[in-house]
Symmetry: C2
Subunit: 230 residues, 2 copies
DNA sequence: TATATTTATTGATAAATATCAATGCAGCAG
DNA sequence: CTGCTGCATTGATATTTATCAATAAATATA
């Protein structure tokens, strides 16, 4: 039996690290309240403003977490990979999803009812700490983003996005972003044309290479400097 | 004995609402680990990036919570009043303060060691829920800000700031902002000159009146519309 | 394979926003 | 009162960024 075939929270090796602190009984509660679903690329997994009834955990694949603005102007907040809990602050505020989530490639996901998460939060101290740690991590990230978006100019934001993809998302100096230029621009909070132009500048200066379908980072330090200095 | 003279967590009527769920014993733990301090207007209460050793609770007065960027470019994230917990996500991530806090007017504040907060988080379920609720509230706010900052144009952001001050902070249609134009601009994420100009436009259009030292909102609906439509 | 359709790129232009410089205005120290 | 000093305002200008339009490239579809 391969890893992919394990479909039981008790033995699951792919889920959220914080599930490791649960007892067998608790894992069984999880198992009983789990709903699994597969998505093809581009499907909506969670919809902003809809009732926050479930937390989502990716078993495989990637998803974009984004804020939907007026007139189809989106802001991609982060790229989710397996191993994290996807749930917004809405579950403790207005009971609505604070953002939308949609699949970038093929995704297998588990949905777990919020009440179950809250129940475990109440009865297992370590689990509660894991939840708050994850929420803090997200919160921290939002503040960072707020900083970049308001203080950095476009080249700084583009550099930041490239470093994020290279570092956190793909863990490689060369990667296929899997995202359209529009989506990359949505990550950097700018128009797609602007993103393209800056990408070309970076390319002309030899900081990156984007001739290939991939993006390859040639001078990481320089890119880091551009990102840091706004 | 007046309210102001009560200096004991057990009887405190001013503190964080979430402290109400603590037992007498727990309140005494709080009391034993409490440090009180007074600030005059303009003093730094918490400094961004410094070790996050304490959470802060205002007993009276107001403070600005802001992110410090490079080159003295700040972004004021919110205005704190008594009744909320002031602590950033840093306490569960990098153990540093995620933002700076400084007093707007005279402030009386209590400092409580993070370890105490974390201890209570671990042993009192209701308290833990209160903590996560507060953190979620902040997180939600950051996402809203992220949205405004990236999607709204300047008039929308100015309108938003005015409505925030009028609604959440001062609870009045006419108010003295207590903040300089520079600080108001830092709330809206723009240059002070831009803020002033838009304020004047609103004034010319009769949406507000800012002749007096106060700012008076004349047409709330219109302001709301400008804020909503970006 | 050929054709349609989306996505990417590029250039020209317009709009939004910041910066700079000058002036006005208030509170405050002498 | 007089002159500082910091904040507020205003105008002129430069910079940044978005939008529009055209074309090219890639991808999907028939």
């Amino acid at each position: 039996m391969t890893k992919e075939n394990i479909c039981n929270c008790v033995d699951c090796e792919e889920g959220w690290l914080n599930f490791k602190v649960l007892s067998r009984d608790e894992l069984e509660i999880l198992e009983e309240n789990r709903y699994e679903a597969d998505f093809r690329a581009g499907e909506t997994i969670l919809k902003q403003s809809s009732p926050a009834s479930n937390a989502v955990f990716l078993r495989s694949g990637m998803a974009k977490i984004y804020l939907e603005g007026q007139g189809s102007k989106n802001l991609i907040v982060s790229i989710a990979k397996p191993g994290i809990m996807i749930v917004g602050p809405g579950i403790y505020t207005d009971n609505r999803h604070s953002f939308s989530v949609s699949s970038i490639n093929s995704v297998k996901a588990c949905f777990i009812r919020i009440e179950v998460i809250k129940k475990l939060f109440g009865q297992n101290r370590k689990f509660a700490e894991g939840v708050i740690r994850e929420m803090s991590r997200m919160s921290h990230w939002y503040l960072d983003k707020l900083m970049s978006m308001t203080q950095k100019k476009m080249p700084g934001r583009v550099a930041e996005v490239l470093l994020y993809l290279s570092g956190e998302v793909y863990g490689a100096g060369e990667f296929n972003p899997l995202l359209t230029r529009q989506e990359l621009a949505d990550m950097a909070g700018m128009a797609k044309e602007s993103f393209v132009r800056i990408l070309k500048e970076f390319s002309d200066e030899g900081i990156i290479c984007s001739d290939c379908p991939d993006i390859k980072i040639m001078q990481k330090e320089k890119l880091q400097m551009i990102s840091d200095n706004g």
